[in-house]
Symmetry: C2
Subunit: 168 residues, 2 copies
């Protein structure tokens, strides 16, 4: 018995992005309840040279979208980085899951050894499909979803691990 | 072509825990260079009711150790939660990777549908092996490694994404 590249990728990404939507909704509700300008939360960061919440969400979306597309040998749709509010960020994450849902097992499966080259900053990186999924896409998406959670927790939003892990 | 439960679990966990060791080493070096009491960093947290760094590391170790053991149908070795310093936390993570390295593909493979029951807080949870790995073990370990990183970044330790992702 074995598992497929599709099984190991798309459902995990969709689930984590759905959890990210719930986390962002709780951030928006918190701002509304406390009469906090939501822009304050959206632009919050944990340290001056770390990315603010808005970019954490944009990058989670980019890595999931582009990562899955590369496994499938496709070009991911581009999204402009112009979100400034919780509803806009939620819409971006939902566009991302909608795109992931269009990808089929037939497109993703068999990509274990596919050669994938990407440019991160100035660095050109080449991976095979399986290490690209396991050591780049998944930990990276989880990093940015967790950091979004951590920024909101640091701002006092009531979130728990269940919001991050989601329900089965 | 497909992948195995071992391929999807043990190497990712070992890699992330090795990256956690590097992150903790940078925390220790920062404290030493700035003459900061390392205990301040080890007990730092992002919000009063979040776990401090020491527990983030302990939990990352617990989930990886117990999660992998459950997939293999084994009982994970218990570790006392008594670490109070960077060297002790690093030793705990290294004990964890040493344990993971004892597990073989023969022990982990075929656990996709194995029924796994665990108690989280007061809640009893039952998973099949594959969702347990993909939706519980991996995101959870990445959560606690990322939060350790975020706590240290928030305290001014110079870390970058490369420290979290590690090198291929």
């Amino acid at each position: 018995m074995t598992i497929t590249m599709y099984q190991a990728s798309i459902p995990s990404l969709i689930r984590s992005l759905n959890n990210l939507v719930s986390i962002l909704e709780k951030g928006a509700a918190h701002a509304e309840a406390r009469k906090i300008d939501p822009a304050v939360l959206v632009s919050s960061r944990l340290y001056p040279d770390m990315f603010p919440l808005v970019q954490q969400v944009q990058i989670a979306s980019d890595i999931a979208r582009r990562g899955a597309a590369r496994l499938a040998g496709l070009e991911a749709p581009n999204l402009e980085d112009n979100e400034t509010s919780f509803p806009e960020l939620i819409a971006r994450v939902q566009k991302t899951t909608a795109y992931l849902e269009t990808l089929t097992p037939e497109q993703i499966d068999g990509s274990e050894e596919k050669s994938i080259t990407l440019t991160v900053g100035k660095e050109k990186m080449t991976f095979e499909g399986l290490p690209y999924l396991l050591y780049f896409i998944l930990p990276n998406v989880y990093f940015h979803v967790t950091t979004t959670y951590d920024i909101l927790r640091h701002c006092g939003v009531e979130l728990g691990k269940g919001d991050y892990l989601g329900k089965a």
